[in-house]
Assembly symmetry: C2
Homo-oligomer: 285 residues x 2
Protein backbone atom coordinates (compact mmCIF):
# COMPACT_ATOMS: atom_id res chain seq x y z
CA UNK A 1 0.00 0.00 0.00
CA UNK A 2 1.42 3.34 -1.06
CA UNK A 3 2.11 5.92 1.59
CA UNK A 4 -0.58 8.55 2.27
CA UNK A 5 0.31 12.13 3.18
CA UNK A 6 -1.35 11.55 6.58
CA UNK A 7 1.44 9.06 7.33
CA UNK A 8 4.09 11.82 7.19
CA UNK A 9 3.11 13.65 10.44
CA UNK A 10 2.17 10.32 12.07
CA UNK A 11 5.63 8.85 11.41
CA UNK A 12 7.12 12.11 12.74
CA UNK A 13 5.30 11.55 16.05
CA UNK A 14 6.47 7.93 16.14
CA UNK A 15 10.07 9.02 15.44
CA UNK A 16 9.97 11.36 18.43
CA UNK A 17 8.57 8.61 20.69
CA UNK A 18 11.16 6.11 19.50
CA UNK A 19 13.99 8.65 19.93
CA UNK A 20 13.01 9.23 23.53
CA UNK A 21 12.80 5.50 24.14
CA UNK A 22 16.26 5.13 22.60
CA UNK A 23 18.18 8.02 24.16
CA UNK A 24 16.05 9.34 27.02
CA UNK A 25 16.04 13.12 27.19
CA UNK A 26 19.23 13.74 25.18
CA UNK A 27 17.86 16.75 23.30
CA UNK A 28 20.82 16.99 20.93
CA UNK A 29 20.43 13.45 19.59
CA UNK A 30 16.61 13.72 19.48
CA UNK A 31 16.93 16.94 17.50
CA UNK A 32 19.40 15.31 15.12
CA UNK A 33 16.96 12.42 14.53
CA UNK A 34 14.00 14.77 13.91
CA UNK A 35 16.15 16.72 11.44
CA UNK A 36 17.14 13.51 9.66
CA UNK A 37 13.46 12.57 9.29
CA UNK A 38 12.70 16.09 8.04
CA UNK A 39 15.41 15.70 5.40
CA UNK A 40 13.86 12.38 4.31
CA UNK A 41 10.40 13.88 3.70
CA UNK A 42 11.08 15.58 0.33
CA UNK A 43 12.58 12.31 -0.94
CA UNK A 44 9.53 10.18 -0.12
CA UNK A 45 8.04 9.06 -3.42
CA UNK A 46 4.47 8.03 -4.13
CA UNK A 47 5.73 4.45 -4.54
CA UNK A 48 7.12 4.23 -1.02
CA UNK A 49 5.12 2.43 1.64
CA UNK A 50 4.88 3.64 5.25
CA UNK A 51 6.67 0.51 6.60
CA UNK A 52 9.64 1.24 4.29
CA UNK A 53 9.95 4.84 5.48
CA UNK A 54 9.60 3.76 9.12
CA UNK A 55 12.39 1.22 8.68
CA UNK A 56 14.68 3.84 7.12
CA UNK A 57 14.34 6.28 10.02
CA UNK A 58 14.23 3.58 12.72
CA UNK A 59 17.56 2.26 11.41
CA UNK A 60 18.95 5.78 11.77
CA UNK A 61 17.68 5.94 15.38
CA UNK A 62 19.27 2.56 16.16
CA UNK A 63 22.57 3.80 14.74
CA UNK A 64 22.48 7.07 16.72
CA UNK A 65 21.52 5.25 19.92
CA UNK A 66 23.99 2.42 19.38
CA UNK A 67 21.23 -0.10 20.03
CA UNK A 68 19.88 -2.93 17.90
CA UNK A 69 16.53 -3.08 19.64
CA UNK A 70 15.15 0.24 20.88
CA UNK A 71 11.84 -1.28 21.97
CA UNK A 72 13.38 -4.22 23.89
CA UNK A 73 12.26 -3.12 27.35
CA UNK A 74 8.87 -1.99 26.05
CA UNK A 75 8.30 -5.37 24.39
CA UNK A 76 9.25 -7.21 27.58
CA UNK A 77 6.73 -5.14 29.54
CA UNK A 78 4.04 -5.83 26.92
CA UNK A 79 4.68 -9.56 27.04
CA UNK A 80 4.59 -9.57 30.84
CA UNK A 81 1.28 -7.65 30.85
CA UNK A 82 -0.24 -10.03 28.30
CA UNK A 83 0.99 -13.07 30.24
CA UNK A 84 -0.60 -11.70 33.38
CA UNK A 85 -4.01 -11.67 31.65
CA UNK A 86 -3.49 -14.91 29.73
CA UNK A 87 -5.18 -17.29 32.22
CA UNK A 88 -8.30 -15.08 32.37
CA UNK A 89 -8.47 -14.80 28.60
CA UNK A 90 -7.81 -18.50 28.10
CA UNK A 91 -10.73 -19.29 30.39
CA UNK A 92 -13.02 -16.81 28.63
CA UNK A 93 -12.11 -18.10 25.17
CA UNK A 94 -12.43 -21.79 26.06
CA UNK A 95 -15.77 -21.34 27.83
CA UNK A 96 -17.24 -19.13 25.10
CA UNK A 97 -19.87 -20.33 22.65
CA UNK A 98 -17.43 -20.36 19.72
CA UNK A 99 -13.84 -20.63 21.02
CA UNK A 100 -12.26 -20.20 17.55
CA UNK A 101 -14.15 -16.97 16.94
CA UNK A 102 -13.29 -15.75 20.45
CA UNK A 103 -9.63 -16.61 19.92
CA UNK A 104 -9.62 -14.61 16.66
CA UNK A 105 -11.12 -11.62 18.46
CA UNK A 106 -8.62 -11.91 21.32
CA UNK A 107 -5.78 -12.12 18.82
CA UNK A 108 -6.95 -8.76 17.42
CA UNK A 109 -7.68 -7.30 20.86
CA UNK A 110 -4.18 -8.28 22.01
CA UNK A 111 -2.49 -5.20 20.63
CA UNK A 112 -4.65 -2.94 22.80
CA UNK A 113 -3.08 -4.41 25.91
CA UNK A 114 0.32 -2.84 26.09
CA UNK A 115 2.66 -1.50 28.73
CA UNK A 116 1.18 1.96 28.31
CA UNK A 117 -2.22 0.82 29.55
CA UNK A 118 -3.01 1.81 33.11
CA UNK A 119 -2.98 -1.04 35.58
CA UNK A 120 -6.35 0.25 36.75
CA UNK A 121 -8.00 -0.72 33.47
CA UNK A 122 -10.52 -3.50 34.02
CA UNK A 123 -9.02 -5.78 31.42
CA UNK A 124 -11.47 -8.58 32.09
CA UNK A 125 -14.37 -6.27 31.42
CA UNK A 126 -12.69 -4.97 28.24
CA UNK A 127 -12.11 -8.45 26.95
CA UNK A 128 -15.65 -9.61 27.78
CA UNK A 129 -17.08 -6.66 25.90
CA UNK A 130 -14.84 -7.38 22.91
CA UNK A 131 -16.10 -10.97 22.79
CA UNK A 132 -19.72 -9.76 23.10
CA UNK A 133 -19.45 -6.98 20.50
CA UNK A 134 -17.21 -8.95 18.14
CA UNK A 135 -15.78 -7.69 14.88
CA UNK A 136 -17.00 -4.56 13.10
CA UNK A 137 -16.41 -6.46 9.88
CA UNK A 138 -16.27 -10.25 9.97
CA UNK A 139 -15.65 -12.77 7.22
CA UNK A 140 -15.67 -15.53 9.80
CA UNK A 141 -18.36 -17.70 8.10
CA UNK A 142 -16.25 -17.77 4.91
CA UNK A 143 -13.13 -18.43 6.98
CA UNK A 144 -14.78 -21.48 8.59
CA UNK A 145 -15.72 -22.76 5.14
CA UNK A 146 -12.12 -22.37 3.94
CA UNK A 147 -10.79 -23.92 7.12
CA UNK A 148 -12.76 -27.12 6.63
CA UNK A 149 -10.79 -27.78 3.42
CA UNK A 150 -7.43 -26.31 4.44
CA UNK A 151 -4.24 -28.24 5.01
CA UNK A 152 -1.94 -25.32 5.74
CA UNK A 153 -2.23 -21.96 7.45
CA UNK A 154 0.28 -19.13 7.66
CA UNK A 155 -0.08 -16.52 10.40
CA UNK A 156 1.94 -13.35 9.80
CA UNK A 157 2.60 -12.00 13.28
CA UNK A 158 2.59 -8.41 14.51
CA UNK A 159 3.48 -7.03 17.97
CA UNK A 160 5.30 -8.89 20.74
CA UNK A 161 2.58 -8.52 23.41
CA UNK A 162 -0.25 -9.85 21.30
CA UNK A 163 1.82 -12.89 20.31
CA UNK A 164 1.00 -14.19 23.81
CA UNK A 165 -2.70 -14.26 22.90
CA UNK A 166 -1.90 -15.73 19.48
CA UNK A 167 -1.07 -18.96 21.29
CA UNK A 168 -4.79 -19.38 21.96
CA UNK A 169 -5.62 -18.83 18.29
CA UNK A 170 -2.95 -21.34 17.29
CA UNK A 171 -4.39 -23.93 19.70
CA UNK A 172 -7.90 -23.47 18.30
CA UNK A 173 -6.70 -23.69 14.69
CA UNK A 174 -4.71 -26.86 15.37
CA UNK A 175 -7.98 -28.59 16.27
CA UNK A 176 -8.66 -28.52 12.51
CA UNK A 177 -5.60 -30.72 11.83
CA UNK A 178 -3.79 -28.10 9.80
CA UNK A 179 -0.12 -27.46 9.23
CA UNK A 180 0.50 -24.14 10.93
CA UNK A 181 3.34 -21.65 10.45
CA UNK A 182 3.86 -18.49 12.47
CA UNK A 183 6.09 -15.90 10.73
CA UNK A 184 7.88 -13.16 12.71
CA UNK A 185 10.13 -10.20 11.82
CA UNK A 186 13.71 -10.93 10.91
CA UNK A 187 15.20 -8.08 12.98
CA UNK A 188 13.89 -5.93 15.82
CA UNK A 189 11.66 -3.14 14.45
CA UNK A 190 9.26 -1.14 16.62
CA UNK A 191 7.55 -3.44 19.15
CA UNK A 192 7.10 -6.23 16.61
CA UNK A 193 7.68 -9.84 17.61
CA UNK A 194 10.98 -11.44 16.54
CA UNK A 195 12.18 -15.04 16.80
CA UNK A 196 13.62 -14.33 20.24
CA UNK A 197 10.33 -13.19 21.82
CA UNK A 198 8.27 -15.81 19.97
CA UNK A 199 10.49 -18.55 21.44
CA UNK A 200 10.31 -17.03 24.91
CA UNK A 201 6.53 -17.01 24.65
CA UNK A 202 6.69 -20.64 23.55
CA UNK A 203 5.03 -20.36 20.13
CA UNK A 204 7.51 -22.99 18.82
CA UNK A 205 5.97 -25.58 21.15
CA UNK A 206 2.76 -25.43 19.09
CA UNK A 207 3.72 -24.80 15.46
CA UNK A 208 6.50 -24.00 12.99
CA UNK A 209 8.16 -20.71 13.71
CA UNK A 210 9.92 -18.89 10.87
CA UNK A 211 11.39 -15.50 10.13
CA UNK A 212 9.78 -13.62 7.26
CA UNK A 213 13.16 -12.27 6.25
CA UNK A 214 11.76 -8.73 6.50
CA UNK A 215 13.05 -6.07 8.86
CA UNK A 216 10.21 -3.71 7.93
CA UNK A 217 7.31 -3.33 10.42
CA UNK A 218 5.08 -5.20 7.99
CA UNK A 219 5.75 -7.76 5.26
CA UNK A 220 7.26 -6.38 2.05
CA UNK A 221 7.24 -9.40 -0.23
CA UNK A 222 10.19 -8.30 -2.36
CA UNK A 223 12.37 -8.40 0.78
CA UNK A 224 10.97 -11.65 2.18
CA UNK A 225 13.05 -14.82 2.48
CA UNK A 226 12.70 -17.73 0.04
CA UNK A 227 11.41 -19.92 2.87
CA UNK A 228 8.70 -17.41 3.71
CA UNK A 229 7.72 -16.88 0.07
CA UNK A 230 7.37 -20.62 -0.48
CA UNK A 231 5.08 -21.04 2.55
CA UNK A 232 3.20 -17.86 1.56
CA UNK A 233 2.57 -19.23 -1.97
CA UNK A 234 1.47 -22.65 -0.82
CA UNK A 235 -0.62 -21.80 2.24
CA UNK A 236 -4.32 -22.55 1.90
CA UNK A 237 -5.13 -19.77 4.34
CA UNK A 238 -3.10 -16.70 5.27
CA UNK A 239 -3.93 -14.63 8.35
CA UNK A 240 -2.17 -11.26 8.34
CA UNK A 241 -2.15 -9.50 11.70
CA UNK A 242 -2.03 -5.73 12.26
CA UNK A 243 -1.74 -2.64 10.11
CA UNK A 244 1.90 -2.94 9.08
CA UNK A 245 1.42 -6.31 7.39
CA UNK A 246 -1.80 -5.08 5.78
CA UNK A 247 0.05 -2.08 4.32
CA UNK A 248 2.64 -4.41 2.86
CA UNK A 249 0.17 -6.98 1.48
CA UNK A 250 -3.03 -5.21 0.46
CA UNK A 251 -1.88 -4.61 -3.10
CA UNK A 252 -0.72 -8.20 -3.58
CA UNK A 253 -2.88 -10.51 -5.68
CA UNK A 254 -3.20 -13.40 -3.21
CA UNK A 255 -6.33 -13.08 -1.04
CA UNK A 256 -5.67 -12.87 2.67
CA UNK A 257 -7.65 -12.77 5.93
CA UNK A 258 -6.68 -9.49 7.62
CA UNK A 259 -7.03 -9.57 11.40
CA UNK A 260 -6.48 -6.20 13.07
CA UNK A 261 -7.54 -3.33 15.22
CA UNK A 262 -7.85 -0.22 13.05
CA UNK A 263 -5.53 2.42 14.46
CA UNK A 264 -5.94 5.33 12.04
CA UNK A 265 -8.42 6.84 9.60
CA UNK A 266 -6.17 6.15 6.60
CA UNK A 267 -6.55 2.39 7.07
CA UNK A 268 -10.25 2.74 8.01
CA UNK A 269 -10.88 4.54 4.70
CA UNK A 270 -8.76 2.10 2.70
CA UNK A 271 -10.80 -0.85 3.99
CA UNK A 272 -14.12 0.83 3.07
CA UNK A 273 -17.38 -0.35 4.60
CA UNK A 274 -17.85 2.47 7.11
CA UNK A 275 -15.08 1.21 9.39
CA UNK A 276 -13.46 3.54 11.90
CA UNK A 277 -10.47 3.87 14.23
CA UNK A 278 -10.77 1.42 17.13
CA UNK A 279 -12.76 -1.19 15.18
CA UNK A 280 -11.76 -4.85 15.26
CA UNK A 281 -11.76 -6.34 11.78
CA UNK A 282 -11.51 -9.79 10.24
CA UNK A 283 -11.63 -9.15 6.53
CA UNK A 284 -10.96 -11.33 3.49
CA UNK A 285 -9.44 -9.26 0.74
Amino acid sequence: MKIEYDCIPCICRQVLEASRMAVGEDRKIIRDILNEYARMIPDITDDDSAPQIVTRIQNYIKQKAGKDDIYLEFKEKNIKAAQQYYPTIEKLVKSSEDPLLSALIMSAVGNSIDAGVSLNVDIEDNVKRAIENGFSHSDYPFFKEQLSNANSILIIADNAGEAVFDKLLIQELLKYKVNLTYAVRDKPILNDVTMKEAKNIGIDRYCSLISSGCDTPGIVLKNASKEFLQIFSNADIIISKGQGNLEGLLDESKPIFYLLKIKCHVIAKRLNGGLKTGDFVFKYY
Copy 2:
Protein backbone atom coordinates in the same frame (compact mmCIF):
# COMPACT_ATOMS: atom_id res chain seq x y z
CA MET B 1 6.99 29.72 25.73
CA LYS B 2 9.72 27.97 23.80
CA ILE B 3 8.76 25.30 21.33
CA GLU B 4 8.80 21.68 22.52
CA TYR B 5 9.85 18.84 20.24
CA ASP B 6 6.29 17.46 20.52
CA CYS B 7 5.10 20.55 18.64
CA ILE B 8 7.07 19.53 15.51
CA PRO B 9 4.89 16.51 14.51
CA CYS B 10 1.77 18.32 15.74
CA ILE B 11 2.42 21.35 13.50
CA CYS B 12 3.09 18.90 10.64
CA ARG B 13 -0.42 17.45 11.09
CA GLN B 14 -1.90 20.97 11.23
CA VAL B 15 -0.01 21.94 8.05
CA LEU B 16 -1.53 18.98 6.21
CA GLU B 17 -5.05 19.89 7.42
CA ALA B 18 -4.59 23.54 6.46
CA SER B 19 -3.19 22.60 3.05
CA ARG B 20 -6.24 20.49 2.30
CA MET B 21 -8.51 23.30 3.45
CA ALA B 22 -6.60 25.69 1.19
CA VAL B 23 -6.20 23.68 -2.02
CA GLY B 24 -8.52 20.67 -1.72
CA GLU B 25 -6.96 17.48 -3.04
CA ASP B 26 -4.23 19.09 -5.18
CA ARG B 27 -1.54 16.57 -4.24
CA LYS B 28 1.26 18.49 -5.95
CA ILE B 29 0.72 21.67 -3.92
CA ILE B 30 0.10 19.74 -0.69
CA ARG B 31 3.34 17.86 -1.24
CA ASP B 32 5.20 21.11 -1.91
CA ILE B 33 3.86 22.56 1.37
CA LEU B 34 4.81 19.46 3.39
CA ASN B 35 8.31 19.63 1.88
CA GLU B 36 8.59 23.32 2.76
CA TYR B 37 7.67 22.55 6.39
CA ALA B 38 10.19 19.67 6.38
CA ARG B 39 12.87 22.10 5.20
CA MET B 40 11.96 24.48 8.05
CA ILE B 41 12.41 21.85 10.78
CA PRO B 42 16.23 21.84 10.97
CA ASP B 43 16.16 25.64 11.23
CA ILE B 44 13.82 25.75 14.23
CA THR B 45 15.83 27.05 17.16
CA ASP B 46 15.18 26.49 20.85
CA ASP B 47 14.19 30.16 21.09
CA ASP B 48 11.35 29.87 18.59
CA SER B 49 7.81 29.55 19.88
CA ALA B 50 5.20 27.29 18.28
CA PRO B 51 3.00 30.26 17.21
CA GLN B 52 5.98 31.76 15.32
CA ILE B 53 6.66 28.54 13.42
CA VAL B 54 2.96 28.10 12.66
CA THR B 55 2.80 31.63 11.23
CA ARG B 56 5.83 31.02 9.02
CA ILE B 57 4.37 27.91 7.39
CA GLN B 58 0.78 29.23 7.32
CA ASN B 59 2.04 32.27 5.39
CA TYR B 60 3.63 29.88 2.90
CA ILE B 61 0.33 28.00 2.53
CA LYS B 62 -1.52 31.29 1.96
CA GLN B 63 0.97 32.21 -0.73
CA LYS B 64 0.74 28.83 -2.51
CA ALA B 65 -3.07 28.87 -2.32
CA GLY B 66 -3.35 32.53 -3.33
CA LYS B 67 -5.67 33.15 -0.37
CA ASP B 68 -5.41 35.55 2.56
CA ASP B 69 -7.71 33.58 4.80
CA ILE B 70 -7.59 29.82 4.41
CA TYR B 71 -9.94 29.19 7.33
CA LEU B 72 -12.60 31.73 6.23
CA GLU B 73 -15.34 29.21 5.47
CA PHE B 74 -14.45 27.12 8.53
CA LYS B 75 -14.67 30.19 10.79
CA GLU B 76 -18.05 31.14 9.33
CA LYS B 77 -19.36 27.64 10.05
CA ASN B 78 -18.00 27.80 13.61
CA ILE B 79 -19.65 31.15 14.24
CA LYS B 80 -22.93 29.91 12.83
CA ALA B 81 -22.81 26.80 15.05
CA ALA B 82 -22.03 28.88 18.13
CA GLN B 83 -24.81 31.36 17.32
CA GLN B 84 -27.26 28.49 17.03
CA TYR B 85 -26.49 27.46 20.62
CA TYR B 86 -26.17 30.99 21.98
CA PRO B 87 -29.78 31.40 23.24
CA THR B 88 -29.60 28.08 25.14
CA ILE B 89 -26.27 28.97 26.67
CA GLU B 90 -27.34 32.50 27.51
CA LYS B 91 -30.34 31.08 29.40
CA LEU B 92 -28.18 28.54 31.24
CA VAL B 93 -25.58 31.13 32.24
CA LYS B 94 -28.09 33.75 33.37
CA SER B 95 -30.14 31.28 35.39
CA SER B 96 -27.11 29.65 37.01
CA GLU B 97 -26.12 30.20 40.62
CA ASP B 98 -23.06 32.27 39.67
CA PRO B 99 -23.52 33.76 36.17
CA LEU B 100 -19.97 35.21 36.02
CA LEU B 101 -18.38 31.85 36.82
CA SER B 102 -20.69 30.13 34.32
CA ALA B 103 -19.83 32.71 31.66
CA LEU B 104 -16.10 32.07 32.26
CA ILE B 105 -16.64 28.33 31.88
CA MET B 106 -18.68 28.82 28.71
CA SER B 107 -16.00 31.08 27.31
CA ALA B 108 -13.52 28.20 27.73
CA VAL B 109 -15.99 25.57 26.56
CA GLY B 110 -16.64 27.63 23.43
CA ASN B 111 -13.74 26.26 21.47
CA SER B 112 -15.09 22.72 21.76
CA ILE B 113 -18.10 23.67 19.69
CA ASP B 114 -16.81 23.92 16.17
CA ALA B 115 -18.02 23.06 12.71
CA GLY B 116 -16.42 19.64 13.00
CA VAL B 117 -18.71 18.62 15.83
CA SER B 118 -21.52 16.29 14.84
CA LEU B 119 -24.94 17.89 14.85
CA ASN B 120 -26.10 14.86 16.84
CA VAL B 121 -24.07 15.95 19.84
CA ASP B 122 -26.35 16.92 22.69
CA ILE B 123 -24.81 20.33 23.14
CA GLU B 124 -27.18 21.34 25.90
CA ASP B 125 -26.21 18.28 27.91
CA ASN B 126 -22.51 18.96 27.26
CA VAL B 127 -22.82 22.53 28.38
CA LYS B 128 -24.81 21.64 31.49
CA ARG B 129 -22.19 19.12 32.50
CA ALA B 130 -19.42 21.70 31.94
CA ILE B 131 -21.20 24.13 34.26
CA GLU B 132 -21.72 21.38 36.84
CA ASN B 133 -18.16 20.01 36.70
CA GLY B 134 -16.53 23.42 36.35
CA PHE B 135 -12.79 24.07 35.98
CA SER B 136 -10.11 21.47 36.70
CA HIS B 137 -8.06 24.33 38.08
CA SER B 138 -9.81 27.51 39.16
CA ASP B 139 -8.42 30.75 40.52
CA TYR B 140 -11.92 32.22 40.45
CA PRO B 141 -11.99 33.31 44.13
CA PHE B 142 -8.80 35.36 43.59
CA PHE B 143 -10.22 36.68 40.32
CA LYS B 144 -13.34 37.92 42.11
CA GLU B 145 -11.13 39.64 44.68
CA GLN B 146 -9.12 41.37 41.93
CA LEU B 147 -12.29 42.24 40.06
CA SER B 148 -13.73 44.15 43.02
CA ASN B 149 -10.83 46.63 42.78
CA ALA B 150 -10.32 46.65 39.01
CA ASN B 151 -10.96 49.53 36.67
CA SER B 152 -9.78 47.94 33.45
CA ILE B 153 -9.82 44.48 31.92
CA LEU B 154 -8.17 43.22 28.76
CA ILE B 155 -9.43 40.02 27.12
CA ILE B 156 -7.06 38.52 24.58
CA ALA B 157 -9.30 36.59 22.21
CA ASP B 158 -8.76 33.23 20.56
CA ASN B 159 -10.92 31.38 17.98
CA ALA B 160 -13.75 32.88 15.96
CA GLY B 161 -16.50 30.49 17.12
CA GLU B 162 -15.91 30.94 20.82
CA ALA B 163 -15.97 34.74 20.43
CA VAL B 164 -19.75 34.33 20.19
CA PHE B 165 -19.81 32.97 23.76
CA ASP B 166 -17.32 35.64 24.89
CA LYS B 167 -20.19 38.14 24.52
CA LEU B 168 -21.78 36.56 27.61
CA LEU B 169 -18.53 36.88 29.56
CA ILE B 170 -18.20 40.51 28.49
CA GLN B 171 -21.77 41.24 29.65
CA GLU B 172 -21.13 39.67 33.05
CA LEU B 173 -17.84 41.56 33.51
CA LEU B 174 -19.41 44.88 32.57
CA LYS B 175 -21.69 44.53 35.61
CA TYR B 176 -18.56 45.35 37.62
CA LYS B 177 -18.30 48.79 35.99
CA VAL B 178 -14.96 48.10 34.35
CA ASN B 179 -13.37 49.43 31.22
CA LEU B 180 -13.21 46.44 28.93
CA THR B 181 -11.05 45.84 25.85
CA TYR B 182 -11.26 42.83 23.56
CA ALA B 183 -8.11 42.24 21.48
CA VAL B 184 -8.17 40.18 18.28
CA ARG B 185 -5.58 39.02 15.71
CA ASP B 186 -4.35 41.57 13.21
CA LYS B 187 -4.51 39.25 10.21
CA PRO B 188 -6.28 35.96 9.51
CA ILE B 189 -4.33 33.07 11.03
CA LEU B 190 -5.82 29.60 11.60
CA ASN B 191 -9.43 29.91 12.82
CA ASP B 192 -8.60 32.83 15.13
CA VAL B 193 -10.97 35.77 15.43
CA THR B 194 -10.04 38.96 13.56
CA MET B 195 -11.63 42.43 13.59
CA LYS B 196 -13.97 41.39 10.78
CA GLU B 197 -15.54 38.45 12.62
CA ALA B 198 -15.59 40.24 15.98
CA LYS B 199 -17.61 43.07 14.40
CA ASN B 200 -19.96 40.63 12.69
CA ILE B 201 -20.54 38.93 16.04
CA GLY B 202 -21.20 42.38 17.52
CA ILE B 203 -18.47 42.47 20.19
CA ASP B 204 -17.97 46.19 19.45
CA ARG B 205 -21.48 46.91 20.70
CA TYR B 206 -20.36 45.96 24.23
CA CYS B 207 -16.72 47.05 24.61
CA SER B 208 -13.62 48.45 22.92
CA LEU B 209 -12.38 46.25 20.13
CA ILE B 210 -8.72 46.45 19.12
CA SER B 211 -6.23 44.55 17.04
CA SER B 212 -3.25 43.16 18.92
CA GLY B 213 -1.03 43.91 15.96
CA CYS B 214 0.04 40.27 15.91
CA ASP B 215 -0.51 37.91 13.01
CA THR B 216 0.73 34.93 15.03
CA PRO B 217 -1.88 32.50 16.44
CA GLY B 218 -1.13 33.79 19.92
CA ILE B 219 0.24 37.06 21.25
CA VAL B 220 3.95 37.63 20.75
CA LEU B 221 4.58 40.85 22.66
CA LYS B 222 7.56 41.96 20.59
CA ASN B 223 5.28 42.06 17.53
CA ALA B 224 2.29 43.67 19.24
CA SER B 225 1.05 47.17 18.38
CA LYS B 226 1.79 50.19 20.60
CA GLU B 227 -1.94 50.53 21.32
CA PHE B 228 -2.12 46.92 22.50
CA LEU B 229 1.05 47.18 24.59
CA GLN B 230 -0.25 50.29 26.32
CA ILE B 231 -3.54 48.63 27.24
CA PHE B 232 -1.66 45.44 28.20
CA SER B 233 0.63 47.39 30.57
CA ASN B 234 -2.15 49.38 32.20
CA ALA B 235 -4.87 46.74 32.53
CA ASP B 236 -5.72 45.76 36.09
CA ILE B 237 -6.77 42.30 34.92
CA ILE B 238 -5.76 40.40 31.79
CA ILE B 239 -7.66 37.34 30.63
CA SER B 240 -5.75 35.36 28.01
CA LYS B 241 -7.86 32.84 26.10
CA GLY B 242 -6.63 29.60 24.52
CA GLN B 243 -3.31 27.85 24.10
CA GLY B 244 -1.75 30.10 21.48
CA ASN B 245 -1.92 33.20 23.67
CA LEU B 246 -0.67 31.20 26.65
CA GLU B 247 2.34 30.04 24.64
CA GLY B 248 3.13 33.63 23.76
CA LEU B 249 2.63 35.05 27.27
CA LEU B 250 3.60 32.41 29.83
CA ASP B 251 7.21 33.57 30.04
CA GLU B 252 6.26 37.26 30.42
CA SER B 253 6.56 38.81 33.84
CA LYS B 254 3.06 40.28 34.12
CA PRO B 255 0.64 37.88 35.84
CA ILE B 256 -2.35 36.85 33.75
CA PHE B 257 -5.55 34.82 34.13
CA TYR B 258 -5.34 32.03 31.59
CA LEU B 259 -8.71 30.73 30.42
CA LEU B 260 -8.51 27.69 28.21
CA LYS B 261 -9.30 24.14 27.34
CA ILE B 262 -6.09 22.10 27.43
CA LYS B 263 -5.60 20.53 24.03
CA CYS B 264 -2.28 18.71 24.36
CA HIS B 265 -0.04 17.08 26.94
CA VAL B 266 2.73 19.66 26.41
CA ILE B 267 0.53 22.44 27.80
CA ALA B 268 -0.93 20.16 30.50
CA LYS B 269 2.60 19.41 31.73
CA ARG B 270 3.70 23.05 31.48
CA LEU B 271 0.79 24.14 33.71
CA ASN B 272 1.62 21.51 36.36
CA GLY B 273 -0.95 20.52 38.97
CA GLY B 274 -1.96 17.16 37.47
CA LEU B 275 -3.87 18.75 34.62
CA LYS B 276 -4.65 16.78 31.47
CA THR B 277 -5.84 17.14 27.89
CA GLY B 278 -9.52 18.13 27.79
CA ASP B 279 -9.45 19.97 31.13
CA PHE B 280 -10.97 23.44 31.44
CA VAL B 281 -8.63 25.77 33.28
CA PHE B 282 -8.80 29.25 34.80
CA LYS B 283 -5.31 29.80 36.13
CA TYR B 284 -3.51 32.87 37.47
CA TYR B 285 0.15 32.70 36.53
